[in-house]
């Protein structure tokens, strides 16, 4: 649970860890039914529309959301840079 929390960048309280452990164990128990489903020779379906490589010309077009509008929403910025805490 702690490893999963770390991977998802979530910090869980002890109470949350206990609660989620219990719930997830029940949920994953429910998933066990899939183990017995025979899927020999079938490929996974990742998307249902069967579209492949939908392309468009690489030509910039004016968009409603211009960079300045997006910058205005940032929690912390420095000019046109997103400002973040130290990483190391």
């Amino acid at each position: 649970m702690l490893k999963l929390a770390r991977l998802s960048r979530l910090s869980l309280s002890d109470a949350e860890i206990t609660q989620y452990q219990k719930e997830l164990s029940e949920i994953f128990g429910y998933f066990d039914r899939l183990a017995s489903v025979d899927v020999k020779e079938l490929e996974p379906t990742y998307q249902v529309s069967k579209l492949v490589n939908v392309m468009r010309e690489d030509i910039p077009k004016p968009q409603v959301a211009n960079p300045d509008t997006l910058l205005e929403q940032l929690p912390k910025r420095d000019g046109r840079y997103i400002k973040v805490g130290r990483m190391i």
């Binding site: 869980l12 429910y30 379906t45 249902v48 929403q73 929690p75 805490g85």
Partner: protein, 483 residues
């Protein structure tokens, strides 16, 4: 609220076509319609909490612009002066877009959802944003970080979810139509609970651009309305290829408003697996009565078994959390409003912002998703689930070679009481009848077909990929039967 009361509320508005006609003739103005909608919202929303915020200023401004154009003799579109409400996971100008989550409180959309743009281009006016389960995770709006939407038929019961706000808005007569999203039943189930029409279009038929993503391979945008005719008209306006969404497909060349499928000879398949254990007996019998009506009208009705549909829920709750865990990784405290102040490092900023901003259900699903995608578990869970998904897709395809439509209930029960399904698995089981259509991307409709203990029940009608017009036509026949 008494049944008769509700029925009069949901007839607060004429058909969309009639509204447009009066606006174009100058009998009523767009501004009148906006005022009417806002007044009804002000009167009823405190009790039902279907709406999170109203977009008064922008709606009134747009109404004035439209009224001015009409006075000048200009054509303003097929939805001239029609007010609507959008689920708050759709980007709309004029107010916040929160997805009912603290994580996005204060976020102002820099662009609009394509579906909203297309409606506005035809003269429709968005007057408010509807409540939902936060990030669309849920079946009741109980997971909204802000409020629970009450069922219009009984305030102690839920309106359904995750588009509970949208469904309630239409049932209460706030507006003639509302936009919702459906990832595993989130338009159909609240439609069933609130006694309105809810259509989940074929995957890719409506652009997902500008809609907060939940599961990218099943998310669909659709309308909640009081009639099939209105639902078809909205679909006709919002559907079709969008350059901004590479997963969009070509729409029908024939308008979706042309609902001309005959009942005579129509092959209807009753899905046996949708009437089993867990489905309330009265719900099953109410739905079967409506199906009998189709038979009486000339349809050929038979039972059909699709055994892999019994695995749909397990597949869904593996695939969807996996996809949403990826989609929600963008909420990291660096780009969108919620960000924990005064953290010591980037890592801490990520972790604390996410832990504080997300609600319990979002975290639960992110953890499930992270687990099923993680090394060592990926094959057993995610890959296996996506392969069982292929079985579901193929079983539907085989069934549609024999049948035109497949039918069954939308939800195992009518609207449940607030707090009744507090256990996560109990809540997930609500979706058991609706997830498979989402996994296959096929069109699925919920049309009101009766009541159980005074609470509405919807009939689910599904058809092959792309057959939206057929589904809506059959829905219209059911509507005629139950009227």
């Amino acid at each position: 609220m008494a049944l008769s009361n509700i029925k009069s509320h949901s007839t607060a508005w004429p058909s969309i076509e009639d509204i447009v006609s009066s606006v174009r003739k100058g009998e009523i103005t767009a501004s009148d319609n906006v005022t009417k909608a806002l007044d009804i919202i002000a009167k009823l929303n405190p009790t039902y909490q279907a709406v999170l915020l109203t977009l008064d200023e922008r709606a009134k401004k747009r109404a004035l612009e439209i009224d001015k154009k009409i006075k000048a003799g200009e054509d303003v579109g097929r939805l001239a002066g029609v007010p609507f409400i959008a689920k708050d996971n759709m980007l709309v100008f004029g107010g916040e877009t929160t997805a009912a989550s603290n994580m996005l409180k204060g976020f102002v959309a820099p662009y609009q959802a394509t579906a909203v743009d297309r409606l506005e281009a035809e003269g429709a006016i968005c007057v408010a944003k509807a409540n939902l389960d936060a990030f669309a995770h849920g079946a009741s709006t109980e997971n909204s970080d802000f409020c629970v939407t009450k069922n219009p038929y009984d305030v102690e019961r839920v309106a359904g979810g995750s588009s509970g706000g949208s469904a309630a808005c239409v049932a209460l007569g706030f507006v003639p139509f509302a936009l919702g999203t459906d990832t595993g039943g989130s338009i159909r189930q609240p439609a069933s609970f609130c006694g309105v029409v809810g259509h989940k279009p074929t995957y890719g038929l409506v652009s997902r651009s500008g809609v907060v993503a939940m599961a990218s391979s099943t998310d669909v945008i659709g309308a909640l309305t009081t009639s099939l005719k209105d639902n078809a008209l909205v679909l006709d306006v919002i559907s079709g290829r969008d350059e901004l969404d590479g997963t969009t497909i070509e729409r029908d060349s024939i308008p979706y408003t042309q609902l001309d499928t005959q009942l005579k000879g129509l092959k209807v398949g009753i899905v046996s697996e949708y009437f089993g254990e867990g489905v309330q007996v009265e719900v099953g019998s109410t739905v079967l009565s409506a199906i009998e009506g189709l038979r009486a009208g000339g349809a050929e009705v038979e039972h059909v078994s699709l055994p892999s549909l019994l695995h749909g829920l397990a597949v869904y709750y593996i695939v969807v959390p996996a996809e949403l865990s990826s989609n929600l990784s963008r909420h990291d405290g660096q780009r969108y409003p919620y960000s924990t102040p005064n953290t010591d490092s980037l890592e801490q900023s990520y972790t604390q912002s996410r832990s504080q901003g997300f609600g319990a259900e979002a975290k639960r699903r992110i953890i499930i998703g992270t687990h099923v995608l993680s090394s060592g578990y990926y094959d057993a869970y995610y890959k296996k689930a996506q392969t069982v998904r292929t079985k579901i897709v193929q079983e539907f395809e085989a069934a549609f070679e024999k049948f035109d439509v497949l039918v069954g209930p939308v939800s195992p029960t009518p609207a449940f009481k607030i707090g009744e399904n507090a256990d996560p698995i109990a809540m997930y089981l609500q979706d058991v009848l609706s997830v498979s259509a989402s996994l296959a991307g096929i069109p699925a409709l919920s049309v009101p077909c009766g009541y159980v203990d005074g609470l509405p029940v919807g009939l689910q009608i599904m058809s092959r990929f792309g057959a939206d017009r057929l589904v809506l036509s059959v829905g219209q026949h059911v509507e005629g039967l139950v009227a």
